[in-house]
């Protein structure tokens, strides 16, 4: 938006300054987005930092400074995806829904919350990202597609399968809760 004047300056010191100002403006939103995607504060910190490093290194590829937010979000989402995929290799089974069922009424009160977190965590990285952008970021299908660099149809498909899996997981958790 107001960043054209900052970015077009050629001197290195000014580039650094421009970067810092834009980073400062976007860091909170970026961190929150990373946090809801990754579901972990420390991971979100690392991902946000890494995304800004990438942004700085690729600064010259920012064609339209007015769209810094979109450009950076794409970098951030990619960074988060990489982290999710890496983490998935040694991911362990989250037992909290079963524990909730087995452990008494105290867990019932927070059942919704406890069931949804693990269910989201079980989604493939791409699906998890689409869900976060849709229901946290309130982005439209087209906006998500643009952020991710994929076709809208792909976004729709990912969203469809993600919601279907969430449905199944939550229904299952609800059923266990009801049986208890």
């Amino acid at each position: 938006m107001a960043s054209i004047d900052l970015i077009e300056v050629e001197r290195p010191a000014s580039r650094a300054e421009a970067f810092q100002r834009l980073a400062d403006r976007h860091i909170d939103a970026g961190y929150r987005l990373a946090r809801v995607i990754l579901g972990d504060a420390a991971e979100a910190e690392d991902a946000t930092h890494d995304a800004f490093v990438t942004a700085w290194r690729k600064w010259s590829t920012l064609r339209d400074p007015a769209r810094f937010d979109h450009w950076f979000d794409r970098i951030l989402v990619n960074t988060c995806r990489n982290r999710l995929q890496r983490a998935r290799r040694w991911q362990t089974q989250d037992l909290s829904p079963d524990l909730a069922v087995a452990s008494g009424d105290a867990y019932r009160q927070v059942h919704d919350r406890d069931a949804l977190g693990p269910a989201l965590a079980r989604l493939p990285a791409d699906h998890r990202i689409v869900v976060a952008l849709r229901f946290y970021g309130d982005l439209t299908i087209d906006e998500i597609a643009e952020r991710l660099g994929v076709r809208p149809g792909t976004v729709k498909s990912r969203l469809h399968y993600a919601l279907r899996q969430l449905h199944a997981d939550l229904d299952s958790a609800d059923a266990k809760g009801a049986l208890r």
Binding site: F19, D28, Y31, T48, H49, W59, R113, L166
Partner: protein, 389 residues
């Protein structure tokens, strides 16, 4: 649960997650992001580069053009046989001979052993024991100087005939200390090692390890440009050969390895663990693992190097990375700063306690013992390596 209910639950969940980050980015993150422009190089757009925009760009363009021509000419020369390189053996000329894998042991020595240009310079190594005395690389017999005692100039020349590069850097003429070995089983060079730490008081330390298709330079913070340039020449040469045969073994690592010139402390080693699988031909069917934790000037990075070779002679992969007694790139300087008396050297003394250097090839394990090394332990380790453990 309806679609709408699910969406409501999702929105509520995300809201509560975001609430936990209501304060925004932590101060530490904000601070580290703010420092990025001063800590990270910015990548320039290659496609958008206009070489005629500045004089510097123009000069760079010219240099690149010259380099391209030189590489093309070099590759053509190699391909035409005008240039013979050490790993270019004619396998049909070689009758593989049976030889048991063996452990070669050599000990650090300080005697002046090579005369070069009238200057007496100390060679770093003498060989204590050996189980092989020679080999034929397809171009004639070569002798391995696995013995204790000084190398004559003639011997040194014989050793370097196939790869006449070894340079200590510094103001004095180069001294040559050269070890090479061949795997008889595959009739190919299995390893060529150049170690050179010379010119006391002046010379830096660097170690060049040559393998058939990869190249490693390890330097300390004191390595000098004159010495490093030789290594870079070798690296270029290697890359030219590799490209001439259409071979691309971990080219990124080769390019990134060797040297970076921006700072003396960045000399050193390939940046990160790389795994290459070579499959271009028999002699390149090797598996190399090269580990570096970062610039060698960082004390924690001194236990850096391990090379694993595997070829079709059924040699098992060797992995000794992390062995507590092996620090391959520890040069004498690092364990005995008084040898060279360089300022700051003592900083490394207690950081680099390993006194054993090890190189493994298909048919041999070469162990170098530094002063104070436990020879028994070295043999045990070498045998483990030899057994592929």
């Amino acid at each position: 649960m309806t679609e709408h209910e699910l969406e409501q639950r999702l929105r509520a969940w995300y809201r509560s997650e975001a609430d936990q980050a209501a304060d925004g980015a932590p101060a530490a993150l904000r601070s580290s992001v703010g420092a990025i422009p001063y800590a990270e190089p910015m990548r320039r757009p290659w496609l958008g580069w206009n070489p005629f925009r500045t004089r510097r760009s123009l000069a760079l363009a010219a240099a690149l053009a010259l380099l391209t021509v030189a590489l093309a000419a070099g590759a053509a020369a190699v391909g035409s046989g005008l240039i013979r390189l050490p790993w270019e053996t004619e396998r049909s000329l070689v009758e593989p001979s049976a030889i048991d894998p063996c452990v070669l042991m050599r000990q650090y020595a300080r005697e002046p052993v090579i005369l070069d240009g009238g200057h007496s310079v100390p060679a770093a190594w003498g060989v204590a024991t050996a189980c092989a005395t020679g080999y034929d690389d397809g171009w004639g017999a070569n002798h391995l100087l696995w013995r204790t005692g000084p190398l004559s100039t003639a011997e040194a020349e014989a050793l370097v005939r196939d790869m006449p590069y070894a340079d200590s850097g510094g103001p004095k003429p180069a001294a040559l200390t050269f070890i090479e070995a061949q795997s008889p089983a595959i009739s190919a060079w299995s390893a060529v090692l150049v170690d050179d730490q010379t010119t006391p008081g002046v010379a830096p330390v660097f170690i060049v390890s040559y393998e058939p298709y990869f190249f490693i330079v390890t330097g300390t913070a004191w390595v000098q440009a004159s010495a490093a340039s030789v290594a870079v020449q070798q690296l270029d040469r290697l890359n030219a050969v590799a490209s001439s045969v259409g071979f691309d073994p971990c080219s990124v690592d080769l390019a990134a390895g060797g040297f970076t010139w921006s700072s003396p402390t960045e000399y050193g080693v390939t940046p990160e663990l790389s795994t290459c699988r070579f499959a271009a031909d028999d002699q390149s069917d090797a598996h190399a693992i090269f580990v570096s934790r970062g610039p060698i000037d960082s004390p924690g990075n001194l236990d850096i190097l391990r090379i694993t070779l595997q070829n079709r002679a059924e040699w098992k992969p060797v992995t000794v990375r992390g062995h507590p007694a092996l620090f391959t790139s520890c040069a004498p300087l690092l364990t005995d700063p008084s040898l060279y008396g360089l300022p700051g050297a003592s900083d490394y003394g207690d950081r680099c306690p390993a006194l054993i250097q090890l190189q493994a090839g298909p048919q041999f394990v070469l162990v170098t013992l530094y002063p104070g090394a436990d020879e028994t332990l070295a043999i045990v380790i070498a045998e483990q390596v030899l057994a592929g453990q």
